[in-house]
């Protein structure tokens, strides 16, 4: 079992938040907060100071920003923020943009537990 990490999940879809929580807990980690929009995400990050964030790229702009903007905001607030981007958008150019914006790993959808575990290991090494 790896060193347990405190994780913040940012996703506007409750089904994905539930699936991710289950997977992360199975992998031995603790979900310290969930956020469904950008405002709640930034608030939860500053309050919880999680070890790792999982971020949905297709985040609904209800809270004022999409996933890529939230990634940039998180990295602006904390240059050491470790963010794993999760998306069905597996385009090579999008992955490059996401990496340039500071994400430390990318997980494609449908989410597989092995891929998530590999991304967590990568994020931990950063």
């Amino acid at each position: 079992m790896p060193d347990p990490k405190r994780i913040l999940i940012i996703d506007d879809n409750a089904a994905i938040r539930m699936i991710l929580t289950d997977m992360l807990e199975t992998l031995g980690h603790k979900v310290v907060a969930e956020a469904a929009d950008s405002v709640a995400a930034l608030k939860a990050y500053s309050e919880q100071k999680p070890d790792i964030v999982t971020l949905d790229l297709s985040l609904s702009a209800v809270g004022g920003a999409d996933g890529l903007s939230v990634l940039k905001s998180l990295r602006l607030a904390d240059a050491k923020a470790r963010v794993i981007v999760i998306s069905g958008n597996a385009q090579e150019k999008v992955r490059t943009l996401v990496e340039q914006a500071g994400a430390c790993a990318f997980v494609g959808k449908p989410i597989k537990e092995d891929d998530l575990n590999a991304a967590l290991a990568k994020a931990t090494q950063v």
Binding site: M18, N89, K93, V94
Partner: protein, 196 residues
Amino acid sequence: MMNADPGEEALLRLIEDGVSSSATALAEVSKTNWTTQTVSINADGVESIRSRMASDPKSYYGSYVSMPGATFLMMVPQDRGASLAKAFLGERSVRHGASAPREAECISEIANIVVHAIVNSLAGACDEPFFLSAPQMVLDKKSSLLSVALEKLQSTGESYAVMAYVHLSSDKLSSDCTVLLFLSAAFHERLLQSLS
């Protein structure tokens, strides 16, 4: 449909590749096989399809996803929503009981994955990144859902030039899944240029 134009034929192949990836993703998230029944481009006019859909009295979950120059609509029957959500969540649907997410949220996520598979194929041809909006869910008759999709594209000042129709089915879930792609004239032109 006979596509005499090589560009249109290449576009149809590109969409077929995307649909094949979609069917694979759909199988993965619903834990059962899906068969592609139809993939066509402009085979029938919108009015012809709307008229055919008008005879269907059932309600459907319609998920709208868009990006500049394109609108996508995925429709699955409301009466199959519970079994799709259950398949999507797996044993979590039992473990979480009443607190499990509603079926609309599960179907919205399925739409996100299915449409992305098609868009990833289009993006590969254009060699540029495409970002999709988060899915918006509406419950209505198929013909009404189709009208809203057209209105969404028109509200951006564009009108559709190409409509692709995709129909998949799953025997095990006794369900079908229809995906409509509306591409604007400008986006269609960009795709054809990239394909040439």
